[in-house]
Symmetry: none
DNA sequence: CATGAATGAGCCTTCATTCAT
DNA sequence: CATGAATGAAGGCTCATTCAT
C-alpha cells in the first residue's frame, strides 16, 4: 500500500500525457482521477516535468524487447524482418499491458521536448540498429548506399509507425467497419511483403509471379532501367 | 489596408498553431506578434476555436494542387507516381509560400480535433483518390485486393509523411550534417524507387538488375513463394 | 474612472508592502481589499515584482522635498539642520498623505531587494548630500576627517530613523502613554540639540551652560583630552 | 548524539530566520540543510512558531553580557560608556560565535511579532537600564529631564544599531572599499566621542579644543543660548 | 474598425501540518 | 527517536473571454 499511490499516479499520468500531451494534461485532472491530492504529485515526483520524464522512462523500459528479439534470433533474415515489423506493431496495440507506453513515445517523437534526445539514444537508436542489421543481412551493402542506408530503414519503419501515428485518419478514411477488420497480423504481413519486394527479396504485391517474370524480362530486353 | 490586420492575424496564428499546437499557442502571443490587441482576435474571428478552423481552411485551400496534378496528367503512371510523391514532399518544404500550411494539416492529423472530419473529406480523401488512381493505372486490380487496397496506399504515403512527421527524430538519428544533405529530390527518388520495386514495376533498391533476374529465376525454380 | 482601479490598487499594494513586506503581502489580499480580481494586478502591473517597484517609485516621488529644502535655504546652518531633521521626521509621520511611502522606503532599506540600488542613488544619496552640505557649512573640514565624514552623517540620520525603524520597541519601552506624548517637534528639537552639541555648535544637553564652561575649563587645564 | 539533531536544527533555523525572516525561511530548507526530514521539526519543536521562539530565546541567552558588564564595572563612567557601545557593536560582528544571534534579535525588533513583548522585557529593557545607569553616572539628573531621559538613550543606541540595521545601505553609500575599512573600534570611538561631546563630557568632534573654548566663550558673552 | 479594461477559471508550485509506523 | 506519506490551503501567474467605448 506504500508504493501504491505512487504507482497509480504514474499510470494515470502516463495515460493522460499520452492522450493529451504534456501541456494538455493537467496534474489536477491526473490527481483527481487517481484519487489523490494535487500535492501528492509534487511529493512523489518533484515536478510536473519530472513526472513526465519518469513516465517516459517507464514507457521505454520494456517495450523494446519484442521487436529487438528479431535481430538476434538465428532465423533467416526474411523471417526476422517479419518478426521485427510484427513486434513493433504489436507493441502499439498490446491489449493486456498499459496502452499508453507506445502512445507516449510516439507523441514525444512527433512533438519533441527536452527529453527527446535521451529517448532517441536509449530507445530509438537501438531499434534502428537492430533494423539495420536485419536489412544488412537481407541485402548486404545497402548501408554503404547513399545517405548511409537511412532512407531504406525509414521506408520500413514509416509504414509501421503510420498506423499508430495516423490511426484517427485511417479510421475516418476506411470507415469504422473496415478499420475494425484490420488486424495486426494482416498489416504486418502486408508491410513485410511490400518491403521484401522493394528490396528484391520477394514477389511484388499485386501481380502473380508469372506476370512479374514476363514483364521483367521485357524490361530487361528493352534496357529500360531508369 | 482594411483587411490588412485580419490577414496578418491569420498568418501569424497559422504559424503559431502549426508550431505549438492549438493549446500551446496563446492568442496573447499571436496578437503581440501581429501588433494588435488581444480583443482584435475576438473581433475578427469570434473564437480561438473559430480562428483555428479558419486557419485550417486556409491551409487546405491551395496546397492540394501540386500533388493532384499528377493524377490527371497524361504521363505514364510511373512518372505520375514520382510527381505525386515529389509534390507531397515539396509542399511540406515549400520555401516561398507560408510554411505553416502543411505543418498545420499534419498536426491536425496527428492530434485530431473536431475539425478533423471535414479535413479528411475535403483535403485528404481527394489526395487518397488521386493516389489510388495512379496505383490502379500502375497495376490494375490492386483495389480489389484485401482491405480495398488501402494498405498499399498507406505504404506509399507513410513514407512521404514520415520525413515531416518525424523530422526531429530523423535529424537526431542521422546527425545534423547528414540531415542537411538530405534533399527533397533525393528522398522523392528513393521513395518512388522503393515503391515501384515493391509493386513489381521497377528494379529493387540495392541489387543490380542482373543479380535480381538470376535470383528470381532461382526462386521461381524452387517454387519458394513464401 | 478609467485609471481609478489602477490607482486604488497601487495605494492598497503600497500599504500592504509597507506593512507586511514583499513576501508577506499577497496579491490576493491586496486585490480583495481593493475590490478587484487577482488578474487585475497582472493586467495593470505585469508582475508582483513590477508592482512593488512601481510602489517604491511612487514612494520616492515626493517625499524628498521636505527635508531637501533645508539644504538650499539661506537660513543659518544651525537652523537648516533643524529643518532637515524635522523634515525627515515629519515625512514619516505625515498624517494627511499616504503613510506607507516612508514605511516602504524604510523597509526596503532594512531588508534590501534588487531595487535597493536604484533607491539609494535616486533617493538616499541626494539626502545624504544635502545633509553633508549642511554639516560642512556648520563645521568646515569635517568631510576630510576620517572615513570621509560619513560616520558623522550616520550619527545624525540614525537618530532620526530610529523612531521610525524601532517605533514598536520604543512604544513597549516607554509605555503607551509616554509614547503618545512624544511629539515630532520635541523629538526634532532633542536630536538637533544633541547633534549641535556633539559638533561643538551648541550647549550640551543636560547641563547648564555655566556648569559646562566650568567643567570644560577644568578639563582643559588638566589637558585630559581622551 | 542524542540531542545532536535538535541542536543542529536550532542552529540552522536560527541562521535561516535571521537571514530570511520568519515567513521567508521555510522549514523545508532548514531541514534539508540540517540533513533531517521535514517532520523532525514538528517532532522536536511542536510548531514553526515554537521553533522561532526557541531560536529567539537562544539568541537572548548569552549576548547581553558583553555590553552589560560595562554598567557594573568600577571604571569611570566615560570608559563604561565606551565599553557599552563597543560591546554592542562587537556582539553584532562577533566572528567566532553564531552570527545569527544578534541578527535575529535585530530583525525581531524591526518587524515585531507576538514574541516581541517578551524580548523587550527580558533582553532590551535590561540593556536600556544599564545604559541609563551609565548616563546617570555621567551627568546626573538627566533621567528627570523631559520624557524620562529616553530620547538621550535613544540617541546613543540608535547610532550603534544603525550600522547593523542599515549595513546594506551603508555599504552602497560608502562604496565597498571604504565600507570594508570601517572597523568596529573606529565606529565605537566615533560614537563614544560624538555622544560624550553631546553630553558635554568631551571635546566636540571636528574642532580643536582651543577653537571650541574660544567660540564657546564668544557665545556665552553674546548670551545666545537658543 | 479596434481597443483598453476587467474578470473567472484554471494552471503549477510551495508551504506547514498531521498521522501511522 | 525519527520518518515517509499524504494533504488542504494558499501563492503567483496565464488564459480566453466579455463589454463599454
Amino acid at each position: 500500500m506504500a508504493e501504491d499511490l505512487k504507482h497509480r499516479l504514474l499510470q494515470v499520468a502516463g495515460a493522460a500525457f499520452a492522450r493529451r500531451g504534456f501541456d494538455g494534461a493537467s496534474i489536477r485532472d491526473i490527481c483527481r482521477e487517481a484519487g489523490a491530492s494535487v500535492a501528492a504529485i509534487h511529493y512523489h515526483f518533484r515536478d510536473k516535468r519530472s513526472l513526465y520524464i519518469t513516465c517516459l522512462e517507464a514507457a521505454q523500459a520494456e517495450k523494446t524487447h519484442l521487436a529487438l528479439l528479431a535481430a538476434h534470433a538465428d532465423a533467416p533474415a526474411r523471417e526476422r524482418l517479419r518478426l521485427f515489423i510484427h513486434g513493433m506493431l504489436a507493441s502499439q496495440n498490446a491489449p493486456h499491458k498499459p496502452a499508453w507506453h507506445m502512445e507516449l513515445i510516439l507523441q514525444e517523437m512527433v512533438r519533441p521536448t527536452d527529453a527527446t534526445g535521451v529517448l532517441v539514444e536509449r530507445f530509438i537508436r537501438p531499434m534502428a540498429s537492430a533494423l539495420k542489421e536485419i536489412v544488412e543481412d537481407l541485402c548486404p551493402g545497402v548501408s554503404e548506399s547513399e545517405h548511409g542506408g537511412w532512407p531504406t530503414g525509414f521506408s520500413i519503419v514509416s509504414q509501421v509507425l503510420f498506423y499508430s501515428t495516423y490511426s484517427p485518419i485511417v479510421r475516418l478514411l476506411m470507415g469504422e467497419d473496415a478499420f475494425q477488420r484490420l488486424s495486426v497480423d494482416a498489416i504486418a504481413d502486408h508491410i513485410t511483403q511490400f518491403t521484401l519486394a522493394a528490396l528484391g527479396k520477394g514477389p511484388p504485391l499485386t501481380v502473380s509471379t508469372a506476370e512479374l517474370a514476363a514483364e521483367l524480362a521485357a524490361e530487361l530486353a528493352a534496357g529500360k532501367a531508369s
